[in-house]
Protein backbone atom coordinates (compact mmCIF):
# COMPACT_ATOMS: atom_id res chain seq x y z
CA UNK A 1 0.00 0.00 0.00
CA UNK A 2 1.38 3.31 -0.98
CA UNK A 3 1.15 6.44 1.05
CA UNK A 4 2.11 10.05 0.91
CA UNK A 5 4.75 10.79 3.36
CA UNK A 6 5.38 14.42 3.99
CA UNK A 7 8.17 16.10 5.77
CA UNK A 8 7.18 18.98 7.98
CA UNK A 9 10.05 21.00 9.26
CA UNK A 10 10.21 23.08 12.32
CA UNK A 11 12.65 25.98 12.54
CA UNK A 12 14.60 24.44 15.34
CA UNK A 13 18.37 24.22 15.15
CA UNK A 14 19.59 23.90 18.71
CA UNK A 15 19.31 20.41 20.14
CA UNK A 16 18.99 21.47 23.78
CA UNK A 17 16.29 24.05 22.99
CA UNK A 18 14.49 21.59 20.73
CA UNK A 19 14.24 19.10 23.55
CA UNK A 20 12.98 21.77 25.93
CA UNK A 21 10.43 22.97 23.38
CA UNK A 22 9.12 19.45 22.74
CA UNK A 23 8.69 18.91 26.45
CA UNK A 24 7.01 22.28 26.71
CA UNK A 25 4.31 21.26 24.22
CA UNK A 26 3.66 18.05 26.13
CA UNK A 27 5.94 15.48 24.52
CA UNK A 28 7.69 12.77 26.45
CA UNK A 29 11.25 12.27 25.31
CA UNK A 30 11.83 8.58 24.64
CA UNK A 31 15.35 8.84 23.28
CA UNK A 32 17.56 11.55 21.99
CA UNK A 33 20.85 12.15 20.28
CA UNK A 34 22.22 14.96 18.18
CA UNK A 35 20.44 13.65 15.04
CA UNK A 36 17.13 12.45 16.32
CA UNK A 37 14.69 13.00 19.15
CA UNK A 38 12.13 10.27 19.64
CA UNK A 39 9.00 11.41 21.40
CA UNK A 40 5.55 10.27 22.43
CA UNK A 41 2.69 12.71 22.39
CA UNK A 42 -1.06 12.18 22.42
CA UNK A 43 -0.46 8.45 22.31
CA UNK A 44 1.61 8.57 19.14
CA UNK A 45 5.31 8.12 18.75
CA UNK A 46 7.30 10.37 16.48
CA UNK A 47 10.88 10.74 15.35
CA UNK A 48 12.03 14.31 15.05
CA UNK A 49 14.99 14.15 12.72
CA UNK A 50 17.75 16.62 12.25
CA UNK A 51 18.92 17.19 8.72
CA UNK A 52 20.56 20.19 7.14
CA UNK A 53 20.76 21.73 10.58
CA UNK A 54 16.98 21.79 10.99
CA UNK A 55 14.58 19.47 12.70
CA UNK A 56 11.70 17.98 10.81
CA UNK A 57 9.12 15.31 11.16
CA UNK A 58 7.89 12.87 8.51
CA UNK A 59 4.34 11.78 8.55
CA UNK A 60 1.75 10.10 6.45
CA UNK A 61 -0.34 12.88 5.12
CA UNK A 62 -3.41 10.75 4.90
CA UNK A 63 -3.42 9.05 8.24
CA UNK A 64 -1.43 11.34 10.45
CA UNK A 65 -1.97 14.90 9.28
CA UNK A 66 -4.70 15.46 11.84
CA UNK A 67 -2.47 14.28 14.65
CA UNK A 68 0.03 17.09 14.34
CA UNK A 69 -1.76 19.91 16.09
CA UNK A 70 0.84 19.83 18.85
CA UNK A 71 3.33 21.22 16.34
CA UNK A 72 1.42 24.50 16.12
CA UNK A 73 2.92 25.75 19.35
CA UNK A 74 6.34 24.24 18.82
CA UNK A 75 7.80 27.32 17.10
CA UNK A 76 6.94 29.69 19.97
CA UNK A 77 8.00 27.11 22.58
CA UNK A 78 11.33 26.82 20.80
CA UNK A 79 11.76 30.61 20.71
CA UNK A 80 11.06 30.79 24.44
CA UNK A 81 13.64 28.06 25.06
CA UNK A 82 16.18 29.93 22.94
CA UNK A 83 15.64 33.16 24.88
CA UNK A 84 15.96 31.24 28.12
CA UNK A 85 19.23 29.71 26.95
CA UNK A 86 20.59 33.10 25.86
CA UNK A 87 19.81 34.53 29.29
CA UNK A 88 21.52 31.58 30.93
CA UNK A 89 24.59 31.99 28.72
CA UNK A 90 24.76 35.69 29.55
CA UNK A 91 24.65 34.84 33.28
CA UNK A 92 27.33 32.22 32.79
CA UNK A 93 29.49 34.74 30.94
CA UNK A 94 29.02 37.22 33.74
CA UNK A 95 29.85 34.49 36.26
CA UNK A 96 32.97 33.65 34.28
CA UNK A 97 33.93 37.32 34.35
CA UNK A 98 33.24 37.49 38.08
CA UNK A 99 35.20 34.30 38.62
CA UNK A 100 38.11 35.81 36.71
CA UNK A 101 37.98 38.89 38.94
CA UNK A 102 37.72 36.70 42.02
CA UNK A 103 40.73 34.74 40.85
CA UNK A 104 42.70 37.97 40.46
CA UNK A 105 41.75 39.03 44.01
CA UNK A 106 42.65 35.56 45.28
CA UNK A 107 46.04 35.70 43.59
CA UNK A 108 46.67 39.17 44.97
CA UNK A 109 45.71 38.00 48.45
CA UNK A 110 47.97 34.97 48.18
CA UNK A 111 50.86 37.15 47.09
CA UNK A 112 50.23 39.48 50.02
CA UNK A 113 50.03 36.54 52.41
CA UNK A 114 53.29 35.10 51.06
CA UNK A 115 54.90 38.50 51.52
CA UNK A 116 53.56 38.72 55.09
CA UNK A 117 54.78 35.24 55.96
CA UNK A 118 58.14 36.08 54.43
CA UNK A 119 58.45 39.21 56.54
CA UNK A 120 57.52 37.31 59.71
CA UNK A 121 60.07 34.59 58.97
CA UNK A 122 62.73 37.18 58.19
CA UNK A 123 62.03 38.97 61.50
CA UNK A 124 62.09 35.66 63.35
CA UNK A 125 65.45 34.74 61.86
CA UNK A 126 66.87 38.17 62.71
CA UNK A 127 65.83 37.79 66.33
CA UNK A 128 67.16 34.24 66.53
CA UNK A 129 70.54 35.15 65.08
CA UNK A 130 70.93 38.24 67.21
CA UNK A 131 69.80 36.47 70.35
CA UNK A 132 72.27 33.66 69.71
CA UNK A 133 75.04 36.16 69.15
CA UNK A 134 74.30 37.71 72.54
CA UNK A 135 74.12 34.33 74.26
CA UNK A 136 70.37 34.03 74.83
CA UNK A 137 68.42 30.80 74.80
CA UNK A 138 65.25 31.22 72.81
CA UNK A 139 61.93 29.57 73.50
CA UNK A 140 59.34 30.03 70.82
CA UNK A 141 55.56 29.73 71.01
CA UNK A 142 52.93 30.36 68.35
CA UNK A 143 49.55 31.55 69.53
CA UNK A 144 46.70 33.30 67.75
CA UNK A 145 48.84 34.15 64.76
CA UNK A 146 51.55 35.68 66.95
CA UNK A 147 55.02 34.33 67.60
CA UNK A 148 56.24 34.79 71.14
CA UNK A 149 59.99 34.42 71.57
CA UNK A 150 61.28 34.34 75.10
CA UNK A 151 64.98 35.16 75.27
CA UNK A 152 66.69 33.96 78.44
CA UNK A 153 70.29 34.28 79.51
CA UNK A 154 71.45 32.88 82.81
CA UNK A 155 75.07 34.07 82.86
Amino acid sequence: MSGVWTEKSVPMTDHECAVEALEEVGATILAKNQNQIRIRINGQEWAVQKSHSRYSIRYNQRTQANLLSWMNNLGSAYETAVQRKLRRLRTEEESAQLESEREAVRAEREAFEAQRQGLIEQRRQEILEKANTLGYRVKETKQNGQIRMVLVRTS
Binding site: R116, E126, K130, Y136, T141, R148, M149, L151
Partner: protein
Protein backbone atom coordinates in the same frame (compact mmCIF):
# COMPACT_ATOMS: atom_id res chain seq x y z
CA UNK B 1 29.46 49.35 90.38
CA UNK B 2 32.76 48.24 88.93
CA UNK B 3 35.86 50.43 89.21
CA UNK B 4 37.54 51.72 86.10
CA UNK B 5 41.20 51.01 85.44
CA UNK B 6 43.25 53.12 83.07
CA UNK B 7 45.54 50.88 81.07
CA UNK B 8 48.39 51.88 78.79
CA UNK B 9 49.19 48.49 77.32
CA UNK B 10 48.39 44.84 77.81
CA UNK B 11 49.63 41.49 76.66
CA UNK B 12 47.32 38.51 76.61
CA UNK B 13 50.12 36.02 77.18
CA UNK B 14 53.61 36.64 78.47
CA UNK B 15 56.22 34.48 80.16
CA UNK B 16 58.63 36.97 81.67
CA UNK B 17 56.58 38.88 84.23
CA UNK B 18 56.26 36.23 86.89
CA UNK B 19 55.92 32.48 87.01
CA UNK B 20 54.22 30.69 84.13
CA UNK B 21 52.20 32.28 81.39
CA UNK B 22 50.51 35.46 82.55
CA UNK B 23 48.26 38.15 81.22
CA UNK B 24 50.06 41.44 81.74
CA UNK B 25 48.59 44.92 82.29
CA UNK B 26 50.61 48.12 82.17
CA UNK B 27 48.48 50.60 84.07
CA UNK B 28 48.53 54.16 82.82
CA UNK B 29 49.66 56.98 85.09
CA UNK B 30 52.61 57.33 87.46
CA UNK B 31 53.84 60.34 89.39
CA UNK B 32 56.87 58.63 90.91
CA UNK B 33 58.88 59.53 87.82
CA UNK B 34 61.92 57.37 88.52
CA UNK B 35 64.95 58.64 86.67
CA UNK B 36 65.82 56.30 83.83
CA UNK B 37 62.35 54.73 83.79
CA UNK B 38 61.82 52.78 80.58
CA UNK B 39 58.09 53.20 80.59
CA UNK B 40 57.72 56.97 80.61
CA UNK B 41 54.90 56.62 78.09
CA UNK B 42 52.80 55.29 80.96
CA UNK B 43 53.44 58.30 83.21
CA UNK B 44 50.66 60.62 81.98
CA UNK B 45 47.38 59.97 83.75
CA UNK B 46 45.43 60.98 80.63
CA UNK B 47 46.92 58.43 78.25
CA UNK B 48 45.92 54.87 77.50
CA UNK B 49 42.32 53.81 77.79
CA UNK B 50 39.83 53.26 80.57
CA UNK B 51 38.19 49.91 81.05
CA UNK B 52 35.88 48.62 83.74
CA UNK B 53 37.43 45.99 85.95
CA UNK B 54 34.38 43.77 85.42
CA UNK B 55 35.12 43.90 81.70
CA UNK B 56 38.75 42.91 82.25
CA UNK B 57 37.65 40.00 84.43
CA UNK B 58 35.16 38.89 81.84
CA UNK B 59 37.91 38.92 79.20
CA UNK B 60 40.20 36.96 81.50
CA UNK B 61 37.45 34.35 81.85
CA UNK B 62 37.74 33.76 78.12
CA UNK B 63 41.54 33.79 77.99
CA UNK B 64 42.91 30.28 77.92
CA UNK B 65 46.23 29.05 79.20
CA UNK B 66 47.16 31.67 81.77
CA UNK B 67 48.32 31.03 85.29
CA UNK B 68 47.65 34.52 86.51
CA UNK B 69 47.99 38.22 85.88
CA UNK B 70 50.76 40.71 86.35
CA UNK B 71 50.09 44.34 87.12
CA UNK B 72 52.76 46.89 86.35
CA UNK B 73 52.85 50.31 84.90
CA UNK B 74 52.68 53.12 85.23
CA UNK B 75 51.94 52.68 88.89
CA UNK B 76 49.14 50.18 89.69
CA UNK B 77 48.84 51.44 93.25
CA UNK B 78 48.01 54.95 92.10
CA UNK B 79 44.77 53.31 90.95
CA UNK B 80 44.62 51.20 94.06
CA UNK B 81 40.83 50.82 94.32
CA UNK B 82 40.53 49.52 90.78
CA UNK B 83 43.66 47.42 91.18
CA UNK B 84 42.24 45.92 94.38
CA UNK B 85 38.98 45.00 92.64
CA UNK B 86 40.97 43.38 89.83
CA UNK B 87 43.23 41.50 92.23
CA UNK B 88 40.24 40.21 94.23
CA UNK B 89 38.45 39.19 91.04
CA UNK B 90 41.49 37.28 89.84
CA UNK B 91 41.93 35.50 93.16
CA UNK B 92 38.26 34.50 93.07
CA UNK B 93 38.94 32.92 89.69
CA UNK B 94 41.97 31.00 90.90
CA UNK B 95 44.42 33.22 89.02
CA UNK B 96 47.61 34.21 90.78
CA UNK B 97 48.60 37.87 91.00
CA UNK B 98 52.02 39.39 90.50
CA UNK B 99 52.14 43.04 91.49
CA UNK B 100 54.81 45.55 90.57
CA UNK B 101 54.90 48.82 92.48
CA UNK B 102 57.43 51.58 92.71
CA UNK B 103 56.30 52.25 96.27
CA UNK B 104 58.06 50.85 99.27
CA UNK B 105 55.66 48.99 101.62
CA UNK B 106 56.27 51.69 104.25
CA UNK B 107 54.51 54.16 101.94
CA UNK B 108 51.32 52.08 101.53
CA UNK B 109 47.93 53.35 102.59
CA UNK B 110 45.22 50.87 103.57
CA UNK B 111 44.02 50.08 100.06
CA UNK B 112 47.52 49.75 98.70
CA UNK B 113 48.34 47.43 101.57
CA UNK B 114 45.30 45.28 100.69
CA UNK B 115 46.51 45.06 97.09
CA UNK B 116 49.89 43.92 98.34
CA UNK B 117 48.46 41.45 100.89
CA UNK B 118 46.20 39.78 98.33
CA UNK B 119 48.93 39.40 95.72
CA UNK B 120 51.00 36.25 95.50
CA UNK B 121 54.22 37.94 94.53
CA UNK B 122 55.11 41.63 94.60
CA UNK B 123 58.12 43.59 93.50
CA UNK B 124 58.44 46.86 95.41
CA UNK B 125 60.60 49.94 95.30
CA UNK B 126 61.60 52.69 92.91
CA UNK B 127 63.68 51.95 89.87
CA UNK B 128 67.13 53.38 90.56
CA UNK B 129 69.09 53.91 87.41
CA UNK B 130 72.45 53.66 89.14
CA UNK B 131 71.50 50.20 90.39
CA UNK B 132 70.14 48.97 87.09
CA UNK B 133 70.92 45.29 86.53
CA UNK B 134 69.49 43.40 83.57
CA UNK B 135 70.64 40.05 84.99
CA UNK B 136 67.98 40.23 87.70
CA UNK B 137 64.79 38.34 87.20
CA UNK B 138 61.53 40.33 87.34
CA UNK B 139 63.09 43.61 88.38
CA UNK B 140 65.14 46.37 86.89
CA UNK B 141 67.40 47.61 89.69
CA UNK B 142 69.15 45.92 92.57
CA UNK B 143 67.32 47.86 95.30
CA UNK B 144 63.93 46.45 94.27
CA UNK B 145 62.57 43.71 96.52
CA UNK B 146 60.74 40.53 95.56
CA UNK B 147 58.12 39.46 98.15
CA UNK B 148 56.57 36.00 98.17
CA UNK B 149 53.36 36.85 99.96
CA UNK B 150 51.13 33.80 99.63
CA UNK B 151 52.04 30.14 99.78
CA UNK B 152 51.50 29.73 96.05
CA UNK B 153 55.12 30.44 95.15
CA UNK B 154 58.44 30.54 96.91
CA UNK B 155 61.96 31.65 96.15
CA UNK B 156 62.65 28.54 94.09
CA UNK B 157 60.93 30.27 91.14
CA UNK B 158 63.30 33.19 91.37
CA UNK B 159 66.28 32.04 89.38
CA UNK B 160 68.16 35.18 88.41
CA UNK B 161 68.34 35.53 84.65
CA UNK B 162 67.96 38.09 81.93
CA UNK B 163 64.62 37.79 80.21
CA UNK B 164 63.37 39.54 77.14
CA UNK B 165 60.27 38.72 75.20
CA UNK B 166 59.77 39.44 71.53
CA UNK B 167 56.34 39.25 69.98
CA UNK B 168 56.12 39.06 66.23
CA UNK B 169 52.61 40.20 65.40
CA UNK B 170 50.66 38.85 62.42
CA UNK B 171 51.52 42.09 60.61
CA UNK B 172 55.24 41.34 61.00
CA UNK B 173 55.65 44.11 63.55
CA UNK B 174 57.93 43.32 66.49
CA UNK B 175 57.11 44.19 70.09
CA UNK B 176 59.80 43.69 72.69
CA UNK B 177 59.17 43.70 76.41
CA UNK B 178 61.29 42.87 79.39
CA UNK B 179 64.69 43.63 80.76
CA UNK B 180 66.73 44.04 77.65
CA UNK B 181 70.27 45.30 77.67
CA UNK B 182 70.76 48.30 75.42
CA UNK B 183 72.65 46.30 72.81
CA UNK B 184 69.66 44.06 72.31
CA UNK B 185 67.28 46.99 72.15
CA UNK B 186 69.41 48.68 69.52
CA UNK B 187 69.74 45.53 67.47
CA UNK B 188 66.10 44.59 67.50
CA UNK B 189 64.58 48.06 67.35
CA UNK B 190 60.79 48.21 67.30
CA UNK B 191 58.48 49.62 69.91
CA UNK B 192 59.52 48.97 73.46
CA UNK B 193 57.46 48.52 76.57
Amino acid sequence: MSQTLRIGHRLGHSEIYGPGIRSVFWTQGCTLACKGCWNTQYWPSKGGGEIEVSQILSELDNLKGIEGITLLGGEPLQQSKASLELIKGCKDRGLSVFLYTGYDPSEFDETMQSCFDLSDIAVTGRFVQGLRDTTLRWRGSRNQQVHFISNTYDESVLQEQTEVECHILPSGEIRMVGYAESELIQILGGSFS
